[in-house]
Symmetry: C3
Subunit: 187 residues, 3 copies
């Protein structure tokens, strides 16, 4: 097994190296974002009793799961739709500046990991438009990166990286994510 | 509450302003699309009785929903998979020029909003390839923008904005969207 | 019908042609990828009995489906969450170099087609980060292209095309995809 792993790792290493084509015009590394914003969003999962407060709900689950309890083990297969308030600080009671809308799903049996497809939607006098995100969330890591795959309105055609941190995680029912949005392509 | 809102708005405003880094090389604003196409797609939702005509079906719903009726309130939590005909005009009976394939989900309890992940798939002698879309659809607005996050074939590596208009909306069972696809990166 | 089709085709043709705006600065066609890697991933679907081996599970299905059997016809409406091993060759027993994580859904009644949203997640000493994919998979074709919509870590901000080939397809329970990842934007 160790030998197989070594061979695989070696093959991958060679494959990556050999594939790096030094092409000046297509390889570019921006040093700093052209725009950056740090925001928080708050997710309260529906558990069968909190319809008033809940901002998200399980809408799909594996054969062994249901829609008011997170699946065991590690929530694997649960799909959650959300409409979460976005705030500028970590206080759930701060006035929201927008909504985080879309879905996440838990996709690993052994540990907690998720996959996100969602948008930050802004609709105030100061800020209009949306930032669209997609990517894997390796929840157990301190920080992890998603892709900003596009934007509209004030974020027209943007791309970048969103660094997530779990700022709070309580009782299977509430979590708060800190999102450091670093945009490297601005129009 | 008003004070909290003001503070939040102010903080957000400062945050956005301070994050705008004037970097000539990364900030670019194209004036017009390099390619543009206006198309329509038609969605007939499965309701338990229209298997022949339906082009989409509810595949996931919240605890209080089911798969042949849209959830109350505002369809929140319903996930729909679709394979909808694309036409060049707003006539459902026009010959399709491609298929809109993917999913949408309804993600707000208070009003109708959706999140889309889908593709326009073309496979004719004149047009081959796909345009891939992602983003939030604020349905109650007259127009709203999604991101074109990529493309293949004749739309190799493209990016842009798709402006949606609800062209028809009938009986919870049929809607027609006008999609104005504006591509700002063409290869 | 033939006349309608002809008119639609003609309209689409004109529409595409007229929309091509010759803008030197925005039209660019890279000749070869700046990075390329060919990898395989392996999907074993949960069928009610293989909880140990399964790497994926049906989590949503249409009204006529269930979560341990693929829906008829053509799996339309089934949504599958997966955490599949990635290998550098087509041997399922090779040591994985990463995980393919996310979801696919089957979206056509007449033939097998799917829509994918997922990531290749790498976390070894040699390779860190993720490649994020989205797009339509026209399964019955020999090869088909998805979009690489972004990347993180070693694949920071990348974009490109992923060409899929079905390398094995067995018993409704196992498939193996060969993924030729061609990155045209590298940072």
């Amino acid at each position: 097994m160790a030998a197989t792993e070594l061979v695989s790792a070696l093959l991958l290493f060679l494959l990556i190296c050999s594939s790096d084509i030094s092409s000046g015009e297509k390889t570019r590394r921006p040093r700093q974002p052209c725009k950056r914003l740090v925001l928080y969003f708050h997710d309260i999962l529906y558990n069968g009793k909190n319809a008033q407060n809940a901002t998200s709900a399980i809408v799909a689950s594996p054969a062994w799961g249901d829609k008011t309890t997170l699946a065991v083990p590690n929530r694997f297969g649960d799909v959650v739709v959300f409409d979460d308030p976005i705030t500028v600080d970590n206080n759930f009671r701060s006035a929201p500046v927008g909504r985080a809308q879309g879905f996440y799903l838990y996709d690993k049996k052994e540990i907690l990991t998720a996959w996100f497809g969602f948008s930050f939607v802004f609709n105030s006098t100061r800020l209009k438009g949306a930032i669209n995100f997609a990517g894997a969330d390796d929840i157990m890591k301190n920080t992890r990166d998603l892709s900003v795959v596009g934007g509209t309105g004030d974020f027209f055609m943007t791309r970048g990286i969103a660094t997530l941190m779990t700022d709070a995680f309580e009782d299977d029912r509430y979590f708060r994510l800190r999102v450091d949005v670093k945009l490297y392509e601005c129009y």
